[in-house]
Amino acid sequence: MSRKTWILVAVVLSVLAACLAYGIYLGDPGYVFANALAVCYT
């Protein structure tokens, strides 16, 4: 892969990692879990 592609990969990965980290900070995993249990057991 060219250097340009690696830079693009790094930028996209940074954005996605920030997205994931912000979601975790806001407590998204808890909502995912609660929703999964609600769909499953109610």
Binding site: G23, L26, D28, V32, N35, A38, C40
Partner: protein, 301 residues
């Protein structure tokens, strides 16, 4: 055995990897931990033994709040960047079911490529659009509401998803008299969709993945920028087109025009094309520029 030989042999073992994935993703003991995460595979979380949370259902639930699903999008995006749509080809339980069904002998046919766009429409309308406009997160709870009741929500899980019908709906109808009492036109329509999807899987390989899977659409978008590459060496290719006949998603790998020669976003990286290609080096898969496996029984590091 060298590392490259092991990689080559792994191509032969893909059905076994898919079987392991199906077992792990439906092993109840892992569910309490797994349901915090969304893997890019279609496996209904309404089924108590389902290990991980369904990304489509989770996105729908977030959108109904309404709230942007940062966590789910981040997780799916990173998976798409790292391995493209390999989860679809190697780990998705419903993909495995379709692969098994397609082994039933008989007449087979391909679907028109124009139908591939349908899954993007479903993603926009039934996973994002209608849940955003009509959704109430408190309605999006319970298998009864999602699968059976006439007054259920208007989203992909409630209206279309054949995986939910197969894994939660059908067992629920068999085992639970309350579910049978609440069965409505939605139940009938979802059972009909499941029957059509399973019948089409026998006749046309991975037809559901190509046409109806919104997760496939999402992962196709998420893997626009990705580390894995599957390429054709036009010099080595003899255009026998075995790869095209084998490809479950009709990804146009062998070029029709000069300048083409890389798998499209429909490619699920099952690497069946690499496995069946008789020409040494005509097809090659790489990860981050490093060659993983090449056709013709030869591999390079």
């Amino acid at each position: 055995m060298s590392t490259s030989d092991r990689r080559q042999r792994l191509l032969e073992k893909r059905p076994r990897v898919q079987l392991y994935s199906l077992v792990v993703l439906n092993s109840y003991i892992l569910a309490p931990v797994g349901k915090y995460i969304c893997l890019p595979v279609l496996n209904c979380y309404a089924c108590p033994i389902g290990t991980v949370a369904c990304p489509v259902g989770s996105i729908t639930a977030f959108v109904m709040v309404p709230y942007f699903p940062f966590y789910v999008i981040g997780m799916l995006g990173i998976a798409g960047l790292a391995v493209g749509r390999a989860f679809c080809g190697w780990a998705c339980p419903f993909g495995y079911v379709q692969d098994l069904l397609h082994r039933i002998p008989g007449r087979k046919f391909g679907l028109p490529r124009a139908l591939d766009a349908t899954k993007y429409v479903l993603l926009v309308v039934l996973v994002v659009g209608l849940p955003l406009l009509l959704g109430n997160p408190y309605d999006f709870t319970g298998t009864e509401r999602v699968v059976f009741e006439a007054g259920g929500t208007w989203d992909y899980c409630a209206l279309v998803c054949p995986v939910g019908t197969l894994q939660a709906g059908v067992p629920g109808l068999i085992a639970n008299a309350d579910f049978r009492e609440k069965a409505s036109w939605r139940t009938a329509s979802k059972l009909a969709i499941l029957a059509i999807v399973l019948a089409l899987a026998v006749l046309s390989h991975r037809s559901f993945c190509r046409v109806l899977c919104p997760l496939g659409a999402l992962m196709a978008i998420a893997s626009i920028v990705k580390l894995p590459r599957l390429r054709t060496d036009q010099g080595a290719c003899t255009r026998c087109l075995r790869c095209r006949r084998t490809c479950p998603t009709s990804s146009r790998l062998v070029p029709e025009n000069a300048g083409e020669g890389e798998a499209t976003s429909e490619c699920v990286l099952c690497l069946e094309c690499v496995r069946v290609c008789p020409e040494a080096g005509a097809l090659s898969a790489s990860l981050g520029g490093k060659s993983l496996v090449t056709s013709g029984g030869k591999t390079s590091e």
